[in-house]
């Protein structure tokens, strides 16, 4: 019934970027493993290889002592290996039951056996505690419910090895508890579980053993019972966590309020949100996925309709109707979605850098040399590592793309800069560089707003952190009150 897995020197390269450098370890059957590592450590890639979504560039893995190479996720599922995705893989226009049986439809003769499928779906949904009719369309579900559908779908596949990539990121505490009970039942039934999570308290609670990866390499493993949370965090980062962050610049008590938002409404996302940020302050925004943080700021710069609220920038009331107006007032917003919203990955580095402020380089024809000079300067200022200044943004690694994106959104010289998940998908070295950059920006007197899902990052980086839950700003924590426990409690509503 159970599966034993052995990774042997797995390597993986995406274009020029190497994400796995010879990873070897093994998994014994019937245990729950916590797979730890920062964003970009290579956990998800390694698991995608095991589940047949990616193929290794070099190296092999074996299942129960037999070397395997899966052609597809279907192959892996036939062996009993099922991956529950971090990014949800559901077809929005189909119903729950259609999604659960997608590619595995049951038939009676030539026709679909709707009845059996619906009954089985209903039973699995009850297991995961989702009380929705199986015919509900997936697009009508909230993110947490979609996550539960993914889990129920995996249950259908008779998994012998189940990989869960951040399954609780969107779940409430009650749903999380139900998931843990389900995991315990599966373990008793002999299923091996690989549990990927950033929430170290959950890892401590639910896993038997932890495996730590860093920068695409296996680092260490140990029994969960013998490892403290602090040790886990330090192992993930590869140094004392405190070394990752520069000392916070001291904020003068009389520092001016640079940016103030009062009673702001973004329909469907933010209700009656008020906060203010001082010049030179790093102000964080914490909250679960879907809490409305991103949408609040998209509203504030005119990308979404706002129905009420007052924005004051350096004492002047403003009401930007589009990002250009916001930029002219001195606010820029760097999206969390780097490739879909932050950078033109198919365009040249200099085109990206100057995109927001192209008028500066037009007299009236564009001065390409001045653009190249600006790029040269930005490459130095932001520590962008590239062999070729004429290459396209696509050719840069994740961390360097992010630095280019930062340079782009700072090129207009904003007084208020909003950075949404500024270190998502970048390696530890680049992360540290970005933290120092953020503090340098604040030291120049700008108001810096950081939205992040990594609590350690918010605590290490920000003077104060606001927490949003269900579209409302529920708490603002200042120095002395910034702890993971407090932030989680406010974000989930369990304080």
């Amino acid at each position: 019934m159970s599966l034993a897995v052995r990774f042997d020197n797995i390597e993986k390269q995406f274009g020029p970027v190497r994400v796995l450098h010879g990873v070897s370890f093994d998994l014994a059957p019937g245990r729950i493993y916590g797979l730890l590592g920062e964003n970009g450590a290579g956990k998800s890639t390694l698991m995608k290889i095991l589940a047949g979504y990616e193929r290794p560039s070099a190296g092999t893995f074996s299942i129960d002592g037999v070397v395997k190479a899966f052609d597809s996720s279907r192959d892996a599922e036939a062996t009993g290996i099922v991956l529950i995705h971090q990014e949800l893989n559901l077809a929005d226009h189909l119903s729950i039951v259609q999604n659960m049986f997608l590619g595995h439809e049951k038939r009676r003769g030539f026709f679909l056996d709707e009845l059996t499928m619906r009954e089985e779906a209903r039973a699995r949904l009850a297991d995961v505690g989702l009380h929705k009719h199986p015919d509900t369309r997936v697009r009508d579900l909230i993110v947490a419910e979609k996550q539960l559908v993914e889990i129920a779908k995996a249950m259908l596949r008779d998994a012998r090895l189940l990989i869960m990539d951040e399954p609780t990121a969107t779940l409430t505490p009650a749903e999380t508890q139900r998931l843990f009970a389900l995991m315990a039942r599966l373990k008793d039934a002999g299923v091996t579980i690989v549990y990927i999570s950033h929430k170290l308290d959950e890892v401590e609670l639910v896993t038997d053993e932890v495996i730590v990866m860093r920068d695409g390499r296996f680092v260490t493993r140990g029994l969960t019972a013998e490892t403290t949370r602090q040790q886990m965090a330090n192992l993930m980062v590869g140094r004392e966590v405190s070394d990752m962050f520069p000392d916070k610049p001291i904020l003068a008590d009389d520092a001016r309020v640079a940016f103030k938002v009062e009673n702001d409404y973004v329909p469907g996302w933010a209700e009656n949100v008020s906060f203010s940020v001082r010049g030179g302050e790093v102000f964080g925004f914490a909250g679960l996925v879907g809490a409305g943080r991103t949408e609040l700021f998209e509203g504030l710069i005119g990308l979404r309709p706002r129905t009420a609220g007052r924005i004051t920038l350096d004492g002047e009331h403003i009401n930007p109707r589009n990002p250009r107006a916001a930029m002219k007032h001195g606010i820029t917003y760097l999206s969390e979605d780097r490739k879909g919203r932050g950078l033109h990955v198919d365009m040249a580095l200099k085109d990206n850098l100057t995109m927001m402020t192209l008028e500066r380089y037009a007299h009236p024809l564009l001065d390409a040399q001045a653009e190249r000079d600006a790029l040269k300067k930005a490459v130095g200022d932001f520590g962008i590592r590239t062999g070729n200044l004429a290459s396209r943004a696509r050719m840069l690694s994740g961390g360097n793309q992010q630095k280019l994106a930062l340079a782009k959104f700072l090129h207009p010289d904003p007084r208020v800069v909003v950075l949404d998940e500024p270190t998502r998908g970048v390696d530890v070295g680049a992360k540290r560089d970005i933290y120092f950059l953020i503090h340098a920006l604040a030291a120049e007197g700008r108001a810096v707003i950081v939205i992040s899902s990594e609590l350690i990052e918010l605590i290490g980086l920000c003077h104060r952190v606001a927490v949003m839950r269900g579209g409302q700003l529920v708490a603002t924590l200042g120095p002395g009150h910034l702890t993971e426990e407090r932030l989680i409690a406010h974000a989930t509503g369990t304080h």
Binding site: R324, M355, M356, T386, G387
Partner: protein, 338 residues
């Protein structure tokens, strides 16, 4: 982070830019090959007169295709340009004839009437483009659907204006207007000069202005452009207006050629213009493209027609088939570039 990576990056991008450069001269190489073939098949091909003839005929489609390049690079499309040209031609002739017969006892000088006609053509082109742009951006309708609709509307209105037949320019005017198409300047026909000016303007606007860069950025990724504080809607509207103006210019040159507009005027011009853009190396999905490529593409397509005319290997009736095969072949060569 690791030096080895940077080397990789450098190496592959150098290779990439070499491939791009090679790709860029592809249409030109094709045109040169066609010209050599044409010369070998019929010595009349390589004469100055024939070259001027081909280029003059190319200029209508070529001017429209330059405007189309902007629309396609920004991620849009305009299927209506043939019908639009026909309606503009019909409206011009109708107004000019009316003015020639006098309004309320007054008559304008013939030269003034022609000037009015030309201005009307440009204004109409701009307005039609503006309507397309507004429907696509503010109305949030797919450009394919918007311009498929106006394709029908424009041609039907022309047919109605012409009462199913032909609108023919008054003789008193056509003699005066004729030189716009038939005259030459320094030995080169006027339409070719206009084509050259429009193409040169297109090259400069696309590559050396803020607007041109924004057009490319929107086609490359509209969402990123929006977040980068680019006024996406305005830029898109301007691309359609520019294309409308190009259609207006092409029509101004076309009307004196035959002096009439019929329900078949400008038929399938949209396909020829789009084909010229695509053959010239601009991707239909938008983001990247070159005006010079479009110019070469337009010339290449009419050289094919010219060679078929001058030789008897393949029937002239199969002209469209050969052009179609060339378009598919070029698309085949471009496939897989991501």
């Amino acid at each position: 982070m690791r030096p080895a990576h940077t080397e990789d990056v450098e190496g592959s991008s150098r290779l990439g830019s070499f491939a791009r450069r090679l790709h860029g001269v592809g249409p030109l190489l094709g045109l040169v090959a066609l010209c050599i073939g044409g010369t070998l098949l019929n010595p009349d091909f390589a004469t100055f007169d024939n070259a001027m003839n081909v280029l003059t005929r190319t200029s209508f489609i070529g001017i429209i295709a330059v405007g189309m390049t902007f629309v396609i690079i920004s991620g849009g499309i305009d299927l209506s340009v043939g019908s639009m040209a026909a309606l503009i031609a019909g409206s011009m002739i109708w107004i000019m004839n009316a003015l020639a017969h006098g309004v309320g006892g007054h008559t304008l000088a013939p030269l003034a009437i022609i000037a009015v006609g030309i201005v009307l053509a440009l204004v109409l082109g701009g307005l039609f483009g503006l309507a397309h742009g507004l429907l696509v951006t503010k109305g949030r309708i797919e450009p394919f659907i918007v311009t498929l609709g106006t394709l029908g509307v424009f041609r039907a209105v022309l047919t109605w204006l012409a009462d199913g037949g032909a609108l023919t320019l008054d003789n008193s005017l056509s003699d005066l207007y004729g030189p716009v198409y038939y005259a030459s300047l320094f030995g080169i026909p006027v339409p070719i000069w206009v084509f050259l000016i429009v193409a040169a303007g297109g090259v400069i606007v696309l590559n050396r202005t803020v607007f041109g860069r924004h057009v490319q950025a929107i086609g490359s990724n509209e969402q990123v452009a929006r977040y980068a504080a680019i006024r996406v809607d305005s830029v898109k509207i301007v691309t359609y207006v520019l294309l409308g103006l190009c259609v207006g210019v092409a029509t101004v040159l076309y009307v004196p050629r035959l002096g009439s507009a019929t329900p078949t005027t400008g038929l399938l011009w949209e396909l020829e213009a789009i084909a010229a853009v695509v053959v010239g190396g601009t991707a239909l999905r938008g983001g990247e493209g070159r005006v010079i490529g479009t110019v070469i593409g337009a010339i290449l397509l009419s050289v094919i027609a010219n060679i078929l005319n001058l030789t008897s290997i393949i029937s002239v009736y199969l002209n469209a088939a050969v052009q179609g095969a060339v378009i598919i072949f070029v698309a085949f060569l471009q496939r897989g570039r991501r």
